[in-house]
Symmetry: C2
Subunit: 407 residues, 2 copies
DNA sequence: TAAAGTTATTTTAGTTCTAAACAAAGTAGT
DNA sequence: ACTACTTTGTTTAGAACTAAAATAACTTTA
């Protein structure tokens, strides 16, 4: 059906801001091309944003053969966002600037299984917010391991947290009086990747995370694919072995039950490769030290992941696959199994699909959640709904209280 | 990025026509809601279409508690389309009315491997077109077993036909002077399903075909997912068995090499279940006659398909899975293996996903191809590009040569 | 160094759509 | 019958865009 061209609040206006934030200064002509609008409109919108004090004109860029471009840059104090990573035993916060850079971060112990989870989380968040700079706070992004009905609604279903239809979004919104966007953590990462990472240059890509579990974020035509109930990307439960080990979901032989961090450590302990108390770090250390058994464990995991991803690549035809997550620290070892299995299981015409492994940081999950907020202006499909509109309004209104609508 | 709200030719105007064609008469208010535009615009557009002679006002529908709705219906002579199914040894044509009903059909022997394929096809098409009624021919839809760069472009890559970057679209367009839309055959089927079938009521679904090969069409938010190079949905080559039989793609153990019609027949012959010259019909007959071996072959295929589809459902989270293709004639036998394997491999929260098997007809492939033409008005994402615009123009202009622009 | 070609930005005159107010044509309660 | 309430359809003013032409500010070529 025809998408209603909103009209309500201006989408393009703030898409300009988000783009400049994400990619740095650009000319009006660049922006018009990138956002797929006419130069005429760009002139008009940037005029308003300049007079609102959200943009500034910078130096000229050297001529490309014609009139040199006048670069436009963001006034960096235009906004900030907070990203939250929620897992069973702790929460992590980051505060990011409008360009996605981390300004502050913190981590707090937390119990997701109490009856007071939501108010607990709100208090922790309030405390973190209080420490922030005096820049308009555009909103809160929350990444959870589980599925979310709609970003702007924020009802969470998560076996990992033991949450069943928990109204995380509405509660935080009420408690904090701020726009709140809730999303599956891997999808949030995909949004961040699209905005700040390799996904900037690709409209169709796959983000795959390896770590405790295995997950995927699917970006199609520049937009994160959520599926019918927000559950797309749960590749950790693809059936792999007919009679494999028991998975947390209750089935046997899921991908995650074979290549997740827990199972790998289990195998290593059983095989005497690491001590009974050793963890994934010990296993990686063993592999790094050329222990054949350890290498084989990673390599076999890579093999299984490679075959599973080949299936997904056939299904979705992405341009590039981006590997992320805590597990990437051992990617070198995974890759021995992954590359041959993955490539050889692909149809010849797909065999060249790019696989990139990005460096992983502790804050990456929370940073991804924050990207949800910064991405809302891009949100032409209106994934974030009402909350997206609020973010946009805060961005435009708070930054320029002195102008517009003053008597 | 913000989608350019085309503006060029009117999309909504013909979305009205397509909707009325697909779903029958509706009121202005209904249409406005369905197409997500304002009532005001609907008044304006329908006024034009009425005066153009494309629509007609019908009786009032009984009041729903307020002013009774004035129904609008399509003037059925507004247009027709032709759909073509191309396979290695023959082509099939159908002519459909604006509501998707088949008016005429034909099948011709054909050799896809000659050097004159394209002109041969054009001649056959010309002959078929000539037999049609005197109603505006909106365009030609072609379904091919392979991937297509862009519908409106129509460059085909198909191992099955032995075609490498064949410019099918542009050639037919030049030869026939008509809008031509080319698409992978399963994707075309998904479009038809969205327009006329079960997909009408679902924005996220999966069309799976079983027959010679296995394929899938993925519909996300109402739009067919094509992927980076138009190759999405090639689930026939998902790796299933580590050391399975050789597949036509050159790899071993692809889903298709295990559950395709050819392999099933092979196994049945080898097991003495059918004669050395028996085909799939014989195998089905054996299963129908309670031959345990035959039943087991189908059941095992169902088992493998079920596990593979479970993986895809986890990846895409569709609301419903629609099974189509020649193979559905034996679905009863497949289902014994399919249902338990599929359900038990799904995460509990997904276990209820609906699986529907629709009746299959010989012309279904070609009918799907024709739907490409009828769907272009819906094409808010502009998949069909230039050719879509041409279809729209033909629909509006040819039907009302007597009005508009007359001196 | 003047003419030609490029690229960037602005102006102008629409087009397409929406929101909001209104008019039309009913049903249901009193 | 009279009023209140619903739903449909229309009118009007205005917002958001676009295309095309005009203008600006260079580089390149002859």
């Amino acid at each position: 059906m025809a998408t209603r061209s909103t009209g309500r609040t201006d989408v393009t206006r703030s898409a300009i801001l988000a783009r400049l934030g994400a990619l740095g200064p650009a000319s009006r002509a660049d922006l018009a091309r990138a956002l797929n609008v006419s130069p005429a409109l760009m002139t008009q919108l940037t005029r308003e944003l300049l007079s609102d004090g959200l943009l500034q004109e910078l130096e000229h860029s050297p001529s490309q053969g014609g009139r040199p471009a006048r670069m436009l840059g963001l006034v960096s104090s235009a906004g900030r966002a907070i990203g939250v990573k929620v897992v069973a035993d702790h929460v992590a916060f980051v505060e990011v600037g409008i360009d996605g850079t981390v300004l502050r971060s913190a981590s707090e112990p937390f119990d997701a299984s109490t009856t007071t989870v939501l108010t607990d989380l709100a208090s922790l968040l309030r405390r973190f917010i209080a420490g922030g700079r005096d820049i308009p706070l555009l909103g809160i992004g929350v990444g959870v391991p589980g599925s979310v009905d709609r970003q702007g609604n924020g009802v969470v279903e998560s076996t990992q947290l033991g949450w069943h239809q928990v109204p995380l979004g509405s509660t935080l919104r009420r408690e904090l009086k701020l726009p709140v966007l809730v999303e599956n953590n891997v999808n949030a990462l995909a949004v961040a990747e699209r905005l700040y990472g390799l996904g900037r240059n690709h409209e169709n890509f796959l983000v795959v995370t390896i770590g405790t579990g295995v997950g995927a974020g699917v970006v199609v035509d520049g937009v994160v694919l959520r599926g019918f109930a927000g559950g797309a990307g749960e590749i950790g439960h693809i059936p792999v072995a007919e009679d494999g080990p028991l998975c947390s979901c209750g089935n046997h032989g899921c991908l995650e039950s074979l290549v997740g961090q827990g199972p790998l450590v289990e195998i290593a302990r059983g095989g005497g490769i690491i001590s009974k108390s050793g963890g994934i770090a010990a296993l990686r250390a063993a592999a790094d030290a050329d222990d054949d058994g350890a290498a084989e464990i990673f390599s076999h995991a890579g093999h299984l992941l490679g075959r599973a991803l080949a299936g997904i690549v056939h299904t979705l035809d992405p341009e590039i696959v981006i590997i992320l997550g805590e597990g990437t620290a051992s990617w070198k070892h995974w890759s021995y199994g992954f590359e041959p299995a993955f490539r050889s299981a692909l149809v010849p015409s797909r065999r060249g699909v790019a696989v990139e492994v990005e460096t992983w940081q502790d804050e990456s999950w929370a940073q991804g959640a924050a990207a949800l907020v910064m991405a809302t202006p891009f949100d032409s499909v209106d994934i974030a709904g009402d909350q997206g509109r609020l973010v946009r309004e805060r961005l435009v209104e708070q930054s320029a209280p002195q102008l517009r609508g003053a008597p």
